[in-house]
Structures are given as structure tokens and as C-alpha cells.
Symmetry: C2
Subunit: 267 residues, 2 copies
């Protein structure tokens, strides 16, 4: 598929979301539906090879959509954007520790003139497809952030980077699981089909009702099964596990809204 940019009202909704993100830290699930949202990780150039190789070796959790070099902060996926401000909330990491969570990353960005910034696909892209197929997105209807877990599954290491797989979870009714697999599988470059269906313990999830990222899930209903998708927060687990000296990321669930149509990444 060629890269398809939104027009008209949809394009305006993406721009409005980025403008709102400059002052409002709210998560972006369901925002500007139809437009691709992205995870972000920005590292000094010395670490860029490790990140890009980590992505290549772990394409399901870390599908790279754009790379901006040399301290740049405008993504080709959203002309006129400013990656230092247009994400609702950031995380600044030092030596693998979370240092701060600013709404504006301009100051942190200025610390390293050679930042290389990666935008990574997000499962919110196929949520639109699930929604259109009348599959309920529970965290949206509950007004919460999506629950995300650090699993016990090792990613393939790359250079100095290692870490566990992070997954997002959506409860799905048994009779819609096949549809959810098929629909999300149609977006292979934004996490694609689930990595696991049914058993949090088998993934090494510590506590189903206390996710490491995002909000706790509301209780599952009868006939629902937890479905787990690879998640673009995975690089943040690698930053922590690998004690990366400096990185700026988005805050989990608070994504960068692009101008690109979800259909760009549909098979």
C-alpha cells in the first residue's frame, strides 16, 4: 500500500489532536479515529544502531514507521508536526531510570543535539478496525487507558539492548476472537495479530489486575477471554533493562497522532 495522507475533516482532527497534546496529557485511544498513532523513542546517535537493530529483530512489538535523524523533530508522517510537544505526555529516562514525565519535551530534547527519533506502530491503529466490526474496545468504553504488561518473554537482544516483551490486553468475547485476530492480522506492520490468547500466566504476567503500564483492566465478563497484542512500549522495557544512558519516550497510551490513514498499513 502507498502512504496515504488524510484530507479534510480527518486531517483537521489529527492536527487538532496534536495541538491539544501540547497542553493536555490525556491518553489517545479513540482519538482521531482513522489516523495512525505512534509510539516514540528518541536516543542519542550512539545508541541508534542498537535501537534499529532491536526493532528489526523484534518486528512484532517494534515496527518502525519513521526515523528522524540529527535532533530533528518533524515526522514525515505529519508535516508541520513537532515531536517535542505534540505528544500528550513524555518520559525522560536517565541510566535506565524514569526521571520525569513532562507534557513538553523541548528542554530534554535540547540536552542532546544528535538525537535519533523512532516512531513505532501502535495497536490503536487496528482498534478502529475492531470498532468498525462492532467489537467493543473495553478500555475505551470504560474511559481508561489500555492495560499493558511487561511479560516474562525475552525479546531478541541487539547490541547493548535487551528486555522483555510488553503486551497490551483487550478482553474479547469468545465468539469474536477469530474476527479480532483476522482484523488485527490485516495490519501486520502495526503489531498485527495477537501474540497470545487466553492465559496471562503463560506469558509470565505478574498480576493481571495490576499492569505495569496504563490502567488496570475492568473485570472480565462471562464469556470473555483476555487477548494480548505485542506493544510499542517494549522499547521502554529495554531502556530500563539495558540502563540506556538517555532516552525520551512517549508515556504509555499517550501517542503521537499522525496525518496518515490506517489503511496505509493494511495488507
Amino acid at each position: 500500500m502507498s502512504q496515504l495522507f488524510a484530507e479534510g475533516d480527518l486531517l483537521a482532527s489529527g492536527r487538532a489532536a496534536r495541538l491539544k497534546a501540547r497542553t493536555d496529557p490525556a491518553p489517545t485511544s479513540g482519538v482521531a479515529e482513522g489516523l495512525v498513532q505512534a509510539n516514540m523513542i528518541s536516543v542519542p546517535k550512539d545508541w541508534a544502531w542498537d535501537v534499529l537493530l532491536y526493532a528489526q529483530r523484534n518486528p512484532k512489538p517494534v515496527p518502525v514507521l519513521d526515523v528522524i535523524e540529527g535532533g530533528g523533530y518533524e515526522s514525515a508522517l505529519a508535516p508541520g508536526s513537532d515531536l517535542r510537544t505534540d505528544i500528550p505526555q513524555y518520559r525522560v529516562w536517565r541510566d535506565g531510570e524514569l526521571d520525569s514525565e513532562p507534557v513538553d519535551a523541548t528542554e530534554a530534547w535540547a540536552e542532546h543535539p544528535d538525537l535519533v527519533t523512532f516512531l513505532i506502530g501502535c495497536s490503536f491503529t487496528f482498534e478502529a478496525g475492531l470498532h468498525q466490526a462492532q467489537i467493543e474496545i473495553r478500555h475505551q468504553t470504560a474511559g481508561r487507558n489500555v492495560p499493558m504488561y511487561r511479560t516474562g518473554v525475552d525479546c531478541r537482544p541487539a547490541g547493548r539492548l535487551k528486555g522483555k516483551l510488553v503486551v497490551s490486553m483487550r478482553p474479547i468475547a469468545c465468539d469474536r476472537i477469530a474476527d479480532a485476530v483476522r482484523i488485527s492480522g490485516g495490519y501486520p506492520s502495526v503489531h498485527g495479530a495477537p501474540v497470545h490468547i487466553g492465559d496471562p500466566d503463560a506469558l509470565g504476567i505478574r498480576d493481571f489486575y495490576a499492569p505495569e503500564y496504563g490502567d488496570a483492566p475492568v473485570p472480565l465478563r462471562d464469556g470473555e477471554v483476555p487477548v494480548f497484542w505485542a506493544c510499542g512500549v517494549t522499547p521502554q522495557a529495554a531502556i530500563a533493562a539495558s540502563k540506556v544512558p538517555f532516552a525520551i519516550t512517549h508515556a504509555p497510551g499517550a501517542m503521537f497522532v499522525t496525518d496518515v490513514l490506517n489503511e496505509t498499513y493494511a495488507v
Copy 2:
């Protein structure tokens, strides 16, 4: 999809193909059908970032399946393989010029101890799917190498790398084009659906019957249309256009046969 390795006779056919490749420069279309084949480009570490970023920015022609660092020559996609010998024919490039086409690259490999080697998806993976759907693969039935063209379409540059898109061509009967699109589109990480259907001139192809790589096509039959897929020879066009100081690649059409099932890359 999880990475699926072949077993039994199919695994043996892959190993036999790699063993044969140590002395026989023949192209590999149709060889060990069912197993993923790969393009190769190997560059000194100083150029590795440029290549990986070029791949990320041009995922249709340059889908990376494996990266081997530090002069290594065993791919995780084929345990026990030797990338210096297990490809039927190589190309050694110096300052962007084709220097030699050895059957064994061991000597060239030894020139740089820090080679980083990239294996890149190949359209031969979905040829098996076309074949199973009874779509004729003309270059196979004609006993030729697939025709490949350097188009007039610019790839997105990355660092010091720039170059034109290279495409492979298969003539397809008008009533099977939709099937060919659907089937190849099911393998998005090995070039996926065609980039163009019908008009060589629109792609900036110089002479349809004199391709830049591979063998000339046999004349099209009535009711057939030329269908063009992005091709993993694209990095070789970039080596030439960008005057890369040193690189080793496969010779177009003479691929690395892995132990991995085509289904690994099916959506």
C-alpha cells in the same frame, strides 16, 4: 506468525540447495519450494546504519529478514549455514563498481573483519503461492532467471545511500491478476503486492526486453500483462548510485535458501 523451521524432506532440500550452491552458480527460482529465499548485502560496519535505515525507509523493496554483525556468516534463518559460500554466485563491489562475480566469497569476506550482513526478503517466497494457485511462473517454465529492471523511481534516501527502485516482472494473464495481487499481498514482509501493473514506461523502464538484471523475458502472450514487484536487488542499485566503497551481494536471482517456511511471512 512465529518463525517456523522446516523439517524432514523439506529441511533436507534446503540444506542440499545450500550445498549445491557452493559450486553451482545457477539461479534458485523454484528451488526447495516452500522455503524462504533471501537477497544478501554485506557492508563494513561504518555503512551498516545507512543500509538498515535505507531498508526501514523502503520496506517494500528492502524487507530485512536477518542481520549478522561482526563479520559473522551464519544466519539464524539457517543454522549451520555459511553465507560466504552458500549462495550460488556473489558480486563484489568496490567504489560502486562491480569488481567480480565469484562462486565463493570467502576471500572477499576476509578483507573486512567488521562486515554487517543483511538478508532481505525475496519474491521467490510468494512464487510458491502463485504456483500452488496454478498461476504460471513464466521464467521458471522457460528455464530462465527472472527479469529485473532498474526503474526511474527514486527510493527514499538514507544517510549516504540513494538509488532507484528495482522491480522483478512476471507476465500474468488478465483473469489471474487479482489472484496474483491477493496471494503476493499475503506476504507483506517479502515484497508483498505488486508496485505496478501494466505499463513499463510509467515505471521508467528503459527497455522491457533488455532488463538490467536477470534474463530477458520471453514475449508476452495475448491477454497477458506485465506485473512488477519490488525487488531485493534494490540495494545493489543503491551501492552503484552511492559509490559505496565495499560491498558483497548475491548475484541477482541466485539467492540464499533458508530453513524457514514461507508461511513464517504469511499474514
